[in-house]
């Protein structure tokens, strides 16, 4: 557990020191081909939590020289581009879109902070990324679990790092996210927005890739005993939004997120006091204090399924509740089915 403390420290360090940014960023770029050979990586034995975590800064420091080939010139260029980045940030000379999405900050800093978690800690294996179209709007619908919405963030990294076009996923998040200080700021900069029909429709119209987790808090905060049992898919609003925009729905199944915080209890009174939808009690939290908030290093698989087209329906179909329920069920069944298939294939929770 002592070693697990490394995670926050590591994050802080890279956020604090500007000099480290260019290096980490370059390493992130180079790592992309690495993730494609995921089967090789996945075999790596990971006996303890400590090793991968300690590895992170080392590999990112070492990788760039071999990646960029020419030693000196590459370093110089990296420093130059790092300083150019710093200069743009300091003078405010960068762009954000209407939703507050800061593409530059996301690509260069925030993604690199998530990547160690994605690559080394959860060792995410991505399947079926070819089901995501390389352009135009699409709605990715995924299951939601893990007490903290880590699965959404990992899905965002998975799409960006594995998709050949490097597409950015725009997640729809609960209103609680936008009420919390700091969290709302980071969420907006990462390109997330409020899960409401208006925002989703606007993003899909702009041809963005939108990610939604229709289970919401019901899925996120379900007890450990109910793991991998899909909860009700809201009111199916996501289907009518996709139908109106005529964009395909891509079901996505995430395995591994359920076990990061096995929620064995829910302190409802505390939750009500804090204004949260639930207050998790896990074998380690809150007993071990902040240490108990460290997720278990489970092995993740994210599978993107066959797209379900919605452009064949007439425009008034979005008002048809029967069709809505049928499509919602179809998406739900497909995700549940894939979840079971992935679970059967899984050797162990941690490897």
């Amino acid at each position: 557990m002592a070693d697990a403390k490394v995670i926050p420290f590591d994050d802080d360090r890279s956020r604090g020191s500007a000099a480290q940014r260019p290096q980490r960023r370059r390493s992130a770029g180079n790592r992309r081909p690495g993730t494609e050979s995921a089967p090789v990586r996945e075999v790596q034995p990971l006996p303890t939590r400590a090793v991968p975590q300690d590895d992170v800064p080392v590999t990112s420091d070492e990788q760039p020289p071999q990646g960029s080939g020419d030693g000196d010139g590459g370093l110089e260029r990296r420093i130059a581009s790092g300083l150019a980045f710093l200069r743009r940030r300091l003078t405010g000379d960068y762009e954000v879109d209407d939703f507050g999405y800061d593409e530059e900050l996301t690509d260069q800093v925030l993604m690199s902070l998530l990547r160690p978690l994605y690559d080394t800690y959860f060792r995410v294996e991505v399947k079926g990324v070819e089901n995501i179209p390389s352009e135009g709007g699409a709605l990715i619908v995924a299951n939601h679990s893990g007490t903290l919405p880590m699965d959404g963030l990992m899905m965002q990294v998975a799409v960006h790092d594995n998709h050949p076009a490097g597409r950015h996923l725009r997640l729809l998040a609960a209103d609680l996210v936008f009420m919390l200080p700091v969290v709302n700021e980071l969420a907006r900069k990462l390109g997330h927005t409020l899960a409401c029909a208006e925002d989703a429709a606007r993003l899909l119209e702009q041809g963005e890739l939108v990610g939604v987790m229709p289970e919401g808090f019901k899925g996120l905060g379900k007890p450990f005993a109910d793991r991998y049992k899909l909860q009700r898919f809201g009111r199916g609003g996501f289907v009518s939004t996709a139908l109106r925009a005529g964009t395909p729905i891509i079901p996505c199944s995430i395995v591994g997120a359920e076990e990061i915080y096995p929620m064995i209890g829910n302190a409802k009174t505390v939750a009500r006091l804090l204004g949260f939808p639930y207050f998790p009690i896990t074998p380690t939290f809150p007993w071990l204090g902040p240490l108990g908030a460290i997720p278990l290093p489970t092995k993740w698989t994210i599978q993107f399924g066959e797209p379900i087209p919605t452009d064949g329906y007439p425009p008034e179909a979005a008002e048809d509740p029967m069709l809505m329920f049928n499509l919602t069920d179809q998406v739900r069944e497909q995700i549940q089915h894939t979840l079971y298939k992935l679970l059967v294939q899984r050797r162990s929770v941690f490897f």
Binding site: D72, E76, R77, I79, A80, S81, L83, A84, L86, R87, R89, L90, T91, G92, D93, Y94, E95, V96, D97, D98, F99, G100, D102, D175, F178, M179, L180, P181, V182, V183, N184, E185, R188, K189, T193, L194, C196, E198, D199, R202
Partner: protein
Amino acid sequence: MGKVVLVTGVARQLGGRFVRRIQRDPDVDRVVGVDAVPPEHHLGGADFVQADIRQPGIARVLAEAGADTIVHLDVTGTPLGSGNRASLKETNVIGTMQLLGACQKSPTVRRLVVKSSTNVYGSAPRDPAVFTETTPPKSLPSGGFAKDTVEVEGYVRGFARRRPDVAVAVLRFANILGPTADTPLASYFSLPVLPTVFGYDPRLQFVHEDDVIEVLRIASHEPQRGTLNSGTFNIAGDGVLLLSQCSRRLGRPTVPLLLPAVTWAGSLVRTLGMTDFSPEQIRLLTHGRVVATGQMRETLGFQPKYTTAETFADFARSQGPGLLPPEALAGAVDRIAALPLAGGGHTPTQSAN
């Protein structure tokens, strides 16, 4: 046939500029400016009538002028001179009621243009990221200027129902900025150190004063072919700036404060009368607000000359340099780029790209 335009709120910079501009339009015969106090700036030869729109006397002014176009600009967030919040609210709400009452009786009125604000949407974390004209606000503004505008718009809607023969345009302006703008946000940005709310980086949208004058002009004339200038329109420049970007571009450091501290400091500053840091202002600087401008482009047929970023740049130029001028910071980074490496000769040029 010439038009007679009656403009309220001409003692303010914006009203004065609008009067001077619309007078130059060929099909405008006469412009009558109305305000409770005489303007300090000249009105370019327009007639000025000193009248308080809160008093029923406004009906006589309207009848005597025989105005066919009313441009109601006296809906504002900052009191002029020594006025206080209560009299401001009275001017905004009672003044609008009186003016609309006068319009309803007048047989000559054909067109009414009302300056409103995107404040009517409020700012809440549960709102969609982008407001369209039809988005219902999740949390109605509880007081201040925002509530005034909501009430003003309510009365204007009632008037439009009762007088369907009058073309009514309600223009919801985003934060107006520019070299001479005297809006609360402009005075906020001229503070040497900007207090911000810790953990929030609001998205802001600006509209340039020149664009405000232009769009008011479009709304007060007959619509161009293929456009419609009655209805409710959001008016804002393209794009979005985050508050952190604004402070960096202005070169003014920020002091993040916890939300309760900001609320407290806001009320303290307000009591001292230093600047109008109202609760709705704090909400705007916490959650931000962005509006869709599709209606403005497609229906009203107005293309703003300035984007949000250009508006802000124009405003920043009119302000003095801040404590951390962006040029100085950029220069410092360039010097670092030139420093450490032997081959540093070409790095600065690269980083400048």
